[in-house]
Subunit: 233 residues, 2 copies
Amino acid sequence: MTQPTGSGPKSAARKRPANRPGEAPVTARQRAYDGIRAGILKGAFPPGSFIEEAMACEATGVSRSPVREALNRLAAEGFLELHPRRGAMVRTLSAAELRDLHEVRQMIESQAIRLICRNRRPVPAQMSELCDTHEATSAGDLLACVEINRLFHQALVAAAGNTVLTQVFDSLQANLTRVAMLSLQLGIGKTRQIEQEHRALIAALQVFDETRAMEILAAHLKPMPRLMGSLSG
Amino acid sequence: MTQPTGSGPKSAARKRPANRPGEAPVTARQRAYDGIRAGILKGAFPPGSFIEEAMACEATGVSRSPVREALNRLAAEGFLELHPRRGAMVRTLSAAELRDLHEVRQMIESQAIRLICRNRRPVPAQMSELCDTHEATSAGDLLACVEINRLFHQALVAAAGNTVLTQVFDSLQANLTRVAMLSLQLGIGKTRQIEQEHRALIAALQVFDETRAMEILAAHLKPMPRLMGSLSG
DNA sequence: CGTGTACGTCATGTATACAATATGAGAGCG
DNA sequence: CGCTCTCATATTGTATACATGACGTACACG
C-alpha cells in the first residue's frame, strides 16, 4: 500500500493515516490546536517561551498551515501573544491581569444570576449532574476537577440565555482554566467545599432568590484574590 | 524589469509592489483584513452571503494564505460564521442577538463607570477631545460619527484600567459598529444629542458621581431597544 | 414522470516552496 | 578591550501546488 498521498508532513509522526469516510473527520487544524493547547496547559511550553512553528509542526504532526491557524486561534483566546516576525509567546498572567480577570468573571456570572432570576429561567439539570460527577471524582484528579468546575460555570452563564454573554465568557475560558489549575495546585480552594457551594447556588437559583445566589457566588469566588497574593508576594 | 519575485498573486491587482525597507510594513494579511471588513460594513458582502476565498483574493489582491487568516480573524470577531468545507458566511444579527449584545454592552460600560468612580480613576483628556471633534463633524458623515462614538466608548471602558474588560469590550466592537451604523442610518439617535450626553457623562465621572453617571449611561443607551423593535417588526 | 445513483466540477483543507526580515555571531576598527 | 558594521542563518510571511470532500447535474431505472 504505497499510497503517495500528500497527507501529513514529509516525515512527521502522523497519528491518523487518513480520514476514513464515515468517520469523524478530525482535521489537522484541530489536532494542532489540541496539541499546542495541551502543551501549554501541561507546562511543556512554559510561560514566556516562544513556540516556533516548526516545533509545533513536529509536536503535532501537521504542516505549518494548520499550525498557524491554531496559533492564531490560541492567540485570540489569550493563550499566546503574537509578535510579528518574532513568533508566538506563551502569555504570562501578571497579578494585575489576574485581578482584572477575576473582576470580569465575577461581573459576568453576577449578570447571569441576575438574568436567570429576573427572567425566571429554569436551571438546567446538567448543573446538578455535574455536582454529582464532581462528588464521584477523586479529589486528586486535578484535571478532571478543573474541567467539571469549568463546565459548571459555563452552564451557569449559558442558563442566562444570552448568547453574547456566553460567548464572552467562553472567550475567557482559556485563562480561567489556567487560573483554576494553579489555584487547585496551590491548595487554595478545596474541591469538596466547591461542590457544596455549587449545590447551594443551584438551590438558590431554583427559587430565583437573586440576593442569596449573589452572596453564594461572592463567597465562592472569594478565594481567588488569595491566589493573586500568593503570586505577587 | 521582469522581476520574478513572487510578491503578489499571479495576476491580481496588487496595490503595493513590495514592502520597501524603512517604510511601514503593511502586511498582506492586514490588507486582506481591512478589505474584507470594509466590504462587509459597506454591504458589498451582504449578510447571509458566502465569501469565497478566491473572491476575497481577487478583491484584496493577496493570496489565499493571508486571506484565510483574515477570514479566521473576522470570524473570531463575530463578522463571519465559518462553516467547515462550506465557506465563510456573513453573519446576520437577529433581534435576539441585538438584545443580548445591548445587555452585555450595558453591563460592561456600567462596570467601567463603577470602577472609575470607585477607584478614583482620572478621566482621560481624549474623551473630551473626541466630543470636540464630534461637534466639529458634519452630522451627515455617518462613518465619521460612528467612528468617533466608537472611540469614545472605547476610551470610557479603557479608563477603568481593567485590561481584560477592555479586551472583552473590544471583541464586541465588530458587531457594535454594525449596530451603530444601522442606528444612525435609521435616524434613531441624533448625533448632537449623543455628543451632549457624552459631555454630561464626562462631567459626572470627573467628580466620581457614580449614580449620576449610571443614569446618564442608561439614558444614553436607551434608544437601542427602539432599533431592535424597528428590525423585528 | 419521479427517484436514485454515479460522476464531474469546484471550493476548501493541507502541504510545501519561495521571499523577506530579524537576530546573533564574528571580524574589523577605534 | 569595547563598539560597530557586516554577513550568515533561521524563522516568519506569502504564494502556490496538491488532495479531499461536497454539491450539482445528468443519466438510467422503476
